[in-house]
């Protein structure tokens, strides 16, 4: 997926392949500006005018949704694939009651009668732990955490096969964040849905996802089961991200920061895109795209992977 700008095409998502099984949750992690949210809006095809998907395919239950027309795509949105937005605070229309905004989606996709729809909203509010008395209230009467729950309730309304959660808890304090993550996991298990979590927060990703993709500069540079990726990271970028996060249970240590910024995607670096910031970069890294190192399902694109330390 590219953004067409006056300065040229920004290759925000470039050569990314992944799949999510039913009931599985995938975490996408990376710094700001590495293409995580671009993947999210590509999956629902709600791109801004400047963005184009030039090639590739998005298979949803075996159907490629890329060539679908807007009218056909509407049938998939929310019913099969829904989304919890990054800015949940602003994802509710301020001039309508929250309950009505959920009913709007229900009437559209499920075609439920008004009384059934209200009943369904009650169920959803129970599911996400919101009081029924808030159904006919306006978004500004909700607190941040409640809005987030309402947004999750809305995403669940039509029982989609997959939910894309783009930074679902970033704006919340850690206590509310933890509760909401736990509830999302509970709901996912109960309804056997797939989820894609997008976050820059390693701790959140570690907690909620079965498999993890680490993104850098529009690419997935490392992918694998959560345990493998976090315990035996291969890619230097993953290791840098990990060492930038404190561990609550582990020993106290100086947090390492990763100098520099993600590259300008108008002209991505040659070879390995991480080489300008990589402490292990060699001549090969600068000139040749890195090979894929595989350790079971766990893989990473790197020229100089560390020794395999797994037992």
């Amino acid at each position: 997926m590219h953004y067409m700008t006056r300065a040229g095409a920004v290759r925000a998502v470039d050569g990314v392949t992944f799949s999510v099984e039913r009931g599985q949750s995938l975490g996408l992690v990376g710094e700001s500006g590495c293409g995580k949210s671009s993947i999210a809006i590509s999956l629902l095809k709600i791109l801004p005018d400047s963005a184009r998907i030039l090639s590739g395919s998005i298979l949803l239950e075996g159907v490629d949704i890329l060539p679908l027309s807007e009218d056909e795509m509407r049938e998939y949105r929310w019913k099969r694939i829904s989304m919890v937005f990054q800015a949940a605070m602003n994802s509710l229309d301020p001039v309508y009651r929250v309950g009505d905004q959920i009913i709007e989606a229900l009437e559209l996709h499920v075609g439920s009668a008004p009384s059934e729809a209200v009943e369904r909203v009650r169920e959803l509010y129970d599911l996400v732990g919101l009081n029924h008395s808030f159904i006919p209230r306006y978004p500004h009467e909700y607190s941040g955490g409640m809005k987030q729950r309402a947004i999750i309730a809305m995403a669940l309304a039509c029982e989609p096969a997959i939910i894309v959660a783009d930074e679902p808890t970033t704006a919340l304090d850690v206590i509310v964040q933890d509760r909401i993550l736990r509830e999302m996991r509970k709901v996912r298990d109960a309804l056997d849905m797939s989820m894609i979590y997008i976050s820059h927060d390693m701790a959140v990703i570690a907690e909620v996802s079965d498999v993890v993709g680490v993104m850098y500069a529009g690419r997935i540079v490392e992918f694998g089961e959560t345990k493998d990726v976090f315990e035996n990271p291969i890619h230097p970028y993953t290791r840098a991200l990990m060492s930038a996060f404190p561990s609550v249970t582990g020993e106290k240590r100086e947090l390492a920061t990763l100098p520099g910024e993600p590259p300008n995607l108008l002209a991505p670096p040659s070879g390995c895109r991480f080489h300008p910031r990589c402490p292990y970069a060699t001549e090969e890294c600068r000139s040749q795209p890195p090979p894929t190192v595989r350790r079971g399902v766990h893989w990473a694109d790197c020229w100089n992977p560390p020794e395999d330390q797994s037992p």
Partner: protein
């Protein structure tokens, strides 16, 4: 809300008092008085002029005049017009204000509707030919020299094409044998318009609330039906031809006013829409799979409406002074003309009275905007 209304009413009274005082002193600052017109008239001796000055009280000291003025205004007495003696100012305004309101309210509502609809479309489909034609056309009309444009409209549609009468409120020949006077007919016309608007508004509210299918059809059908019913009632009473005569005189000035003013609303709507379209809830609405039209109308336009309504309500307030220029060009006997002639003939009570009415309407419109906001934006509570 009640507390707020009381507070605002007190504010309004205070503002009105300051406004009254300013208007009084500014109007009195001009030299001469109503009798100056007769200074050069050999038929009116100086004694008569003095008696005239005594009668109207213009020789009293200014502070005394001011006190009388304030007391009278707050007791609802606007005095007697000097130039239309012995008609009272209130009587003249009661006759002129509805004419001005009818003309300018109609034009404001039409141009608001047109501007909003066009602004919505050009914001949604940027870069199309609709955007270029309506933007260039709208801005040209918006910035055109109003007197010239009014005269061109008269020349083109009244003089050359002969479709409409050239100015004035009615055709005197037609009214010579009329059973009732123009004011009675006109008041009944206003009443009819109010009935039709209430019917249409109710229909809009019901169809929007129930989210009915074919809501557009029901609305347009309802509008046509109620308009037809009112027209039938008019012709049944046998005064329909008189109402039609006044209506015919209204079309050209209303069209002119609409054309020169819709671009303001259009561009404001466009900008407000473009800003709202970037909001996250709009992306959420699209992600929900809503049809484009619903995203545009229910979510984007509904939120974009808020700043536009403010400017609309304020423009309504200024409908009262009725664009002096337009009323002059179309010889429309409304408040604008009244103001000009009162100022020219030193008819101070009439000038002050007309100004006070403009002020009262501006203040009321502001209050109305505040109250309307409570219904439009649930976040606002007083």
């Amino acid at each position: 809300m009640a507390h707020y209304l009381v507070k605002r009413s007190a504010q309004i009274l205070l503002t009105l008092f300051v406004f009254l005082s300013l208007v009084f002193f500014i109007v009195n600052a001009q030299p001469g008085d109503v009798s100056s017109f007769y200074a050069l008239n050999p038929d009116i001796p100086p004694e008569t002029r003095e008696r005239m000055q005594d009668l109207f009280g213009v020789n009293d000291p200014l502070w005394k005049q001011y006190l009388v003025h304030v007391r009278n205004t707050f007791t609802g007495n606007f005095g007697v017009s000097f130039s239309h003696y012995p008609r009272t100012v209130a009587d003249i305004i009661r006759e002129r204000l509805p004419r001005t309101l009818a003309l300018f309210l109609t034009a404001s509502v039409i141009s608001f509707y047109l501007g909003f609809a066009l602004g919505k479309i050009i914001a949604w489909r940027r870069g199309g030919w609709t955007e270029y034609t309506s933007t260039i056309g709208g801005v040209t009309l918006y910035t055109v020299f109003t007197p010239w444009f009014g005269l061109m409209m008269i020349w083109l549609f009244a003089f050359r094409a002969g479709w409409f009468p050239i100015g004035k409120f009615l055709d005197p020949v037609l009214w010579r044998d009329a059973p009732t006077d123009a004011n009675a007919i006109f008041n009944r016309m206003i009443l009819s318009a109010i009935v039709v608007s209430i019917a249409v508004f109710a229909l809009f509210a019901v169809t929007a609330k129930r989210r009915m299918a074919h809501s557009r059809l029901i609305r347009i059908g309802g509008l046509a039906l109620s308009a037809l019913a009112v027209a039938a009632a008019w012709f049944a009473t046998g005064t329909g031809y008189l109402a039609w005569d006044i209506l015919k005189h209204m079309i050209l000035p209303v069209a002119t006013l609409t054309l020169i003013s819709f671009a303001g609303t259009m561009l404001l709507t466009r900008n407000s829409m473009l800003e709202t379209m970037r909001e996250d809830y709009v992306m959420a609405a699209r992600a929900k799979g809503l049809p484009e039209k619903d995203v545009r109308d229910r979510h984007v336009a509904r939120n974009a409406l808020l700043p536009i309504v403010t400017s609309f309500v304020f423009s309504l307030a200024f409908a009262v002074d009725g664009g002096v220029i337009i009323e002059q060009i179309f010889s429309w006997p409304g408040m604008g003309q009244t103001l000009v002639s009162a100022a020219l003939t030193e008819d101070l009570p009439l000038a002050v009275g007309a100004f006070v009415f403009v002020g009262v309407f501006v203040l009321i419109a502001h209050l109305a905007a505040d109250i309307l906001y409570v219904y439009l934006d649930p976040r606002i509570r007083y």
